[in-house]
């Protein structure tokens, strides 16, 4: 009887903590929605040119960021998971650094490297006349720097958990390294890869500080949704109402994409496990 009582108390505690936790996360969103509904301009702002241009830019730059992160980050993650060499711990640390770095500093760091007076930016400007600042390319660079580490971290731990024996068996049975990688390592690590990509994309979509510093803020060229939101907040024409309307729009799109992704994965996951 006593244990049943203890069980009940534990259940009650768990539920209370869970509800309090959920309320803490949901209330700020409820506040935004309530405020947006009060304001007569919300819909007008959401359908306006600023919102459309910023959303379009945010979606395509974050998509490019994800593609670049997969192409360049996957081999790096696989290498880090499989290779062992002196100084690997330090290299690991360097890949994690942008997660620690305040985004504003990440932006300054990009300028010191790729800016017009930066380490490689200056010679590139001198020899080719190409500069990165104030272009959509700079937006993508800022996003990759701050968000790719989330993918690489997740992918690395995913590859580490893949059974090495399976890979070796496939290899000794005559499968090429490439085939082994795509047939064994990638499917086995898939949940981790996807989780990493989701984090990476979400971080890229929300990126503000590094973009402001490195890419600047110009509608249609470098003004992504977070920049449009902060511009509205700091300005007089859209103001707080604008910042809230644009934030809700960004949150809605993010929620839609993430939910669609989850559904798509749970379906493909069923296929994979049923092979």
């Amino acid at each position: 009887m006593n244990t049943r009582l203890a069980d009940r108390a534990a259940l009650a505690t768990t539920v209370t903590l869970g509800v309090a936790f959920a309320a803490f996360f949901l209330l700020p969103f409820a506040g935004l929605v309530a405020r947006a509904l009060q304001d007569g301009r919300t819909w007008e702002i959401m359908t306006g040119a600023t919102a459309r241009k910023a959303m379009t830019l945010s979606l395509w730059t974050s998509a490019v960021t994800v593609v670049l992160t997969i192409v360049f980050g996957t081999p790096a993650a696989y290498f880090l998971a499989r290779a062992s060499f002196r100084g690997k711990a330090i290299l690991d640390g360097f890949i994690d650094l942008p997660i620690v770095l305040p985004p504003t500093v990440a932006g300054v760091a990009l300028l010191t490297a790729f800016g017009r007076r930066g380490l490689v930016g200056e010679p590139i400007d001198h020899w080719t006349g190409i500069t990165f600042g104030f272009t959509s390319v700079a937006v993508v660079m800022a996003q990759v720097l701050v968000s790719a580490p989330f993918y690489v971290r997740a992918a690395k731990s995913g590859f580490e958990r893949v059974d090495l024996q399976q890979e070796q068996v496939a290899y000794t049975l005559g499968a090429s390294r490439t085939k082994t990688f795509f047939r064994i390592a990638v499917p086995e690590a898939q949940p981790a890869l996807v989780a990493g990509l989701v984090l990476c994309w979400a971080r890229a979509l929300g990126e503000l500080g590094a973009t402001l510093i490195f890419a600047g803020n110009l509608e249609g060229r470098t003004q992504t949704m977070p920049l449009a939101i902060i511009s509205a907040f700091e300005g007089t024409s859209l103001g707080l109402a604008g910042a809230i309307a644009l934030s809700l729009m960004l949150l809605a799109v993010a929620l839609a994409v993430l939910t669609a992704l989850r559904l798509a994965i749970s379906r493909s996951g069923a296929v994979v496990s049923g092979r």
Binding site: V108, G133, F134, N217
Partner: protein, 290 residues
Amino acid sequence: MTIADPSMRRSRSRLAAAVAMAVTVALAAGCGSGNATPAPSSAGTAGAPTASHPTVVGNITVFAASSLTDAFTEAAKAFHARNPGVAVQFNFASSSALATQINEGAPADVFASADQAQMQVVADRSGVVDPAVFATNVPVVVTPKGSAAVRSFADLAKPGIKLVLAAKDVPIGKYARDVLQRASGAGGIAPDFATKVLANLKSDEANVRAVLAKVQLGEADAGIVYVTDIGAAKDDVNRIEIPAAYNVVAEYPIAVLKPSKAPTAARAFVTFLRSAEGQAILQKYGFQPG
């Protein structure tokens, strides 16, 4: 570290404001003394009141435009020397951000804005007492040291120049655009000057310090900032005066806020800023008398 300074200072002052607000809210809830804010923030915060001449007593929180950071910090020290019973604490940010914070209920006693528009925003929603101009400031063009891309005000219209301005909703961004309009068609300047200059615009920065940083780093060929902002950056930038014929004068209004719980102390600070001593400190930092 001079590179990171402007933006870091800004986020630091924001953090300080957030901490101050959290502490104030906690105190107000805890012991009902809504105005007794301790001093977690930057310089300029005066210590506990001493008992020498307690003519005015109270703790005040001043919300001030970021361009006033250095001048107000020094002014508060001088003010505290004369009014030991008053502790002054600051929240520096862009005027528009401050106006939003005040209208959302932030515990401020005094608002010093970089333009009349934001003062009006606060007056309409929260209420202010006798707003008056206490200082003025003038816009100037800045270019990176060692860059020859822009040598004169007229050069701003040269095709291919990388220009950064504050966004058009930010006071200095609006002043900059006003200057360009006024210059267009004025003696010897083409009527389409403003259009040509704005075609060179590469970024709408969130505030004046961000404009300065882009120029300091050489990322932009030119920007328009307040003359008072150059201070710490004077080794990195050249200054090009805008001819007075079409320059504008930025007016800084200040007012005690209606919801203030320490209106007497707040009024004393405003009066001090408008006194000869207060005006002398402001002029030291490049402001003109209001």
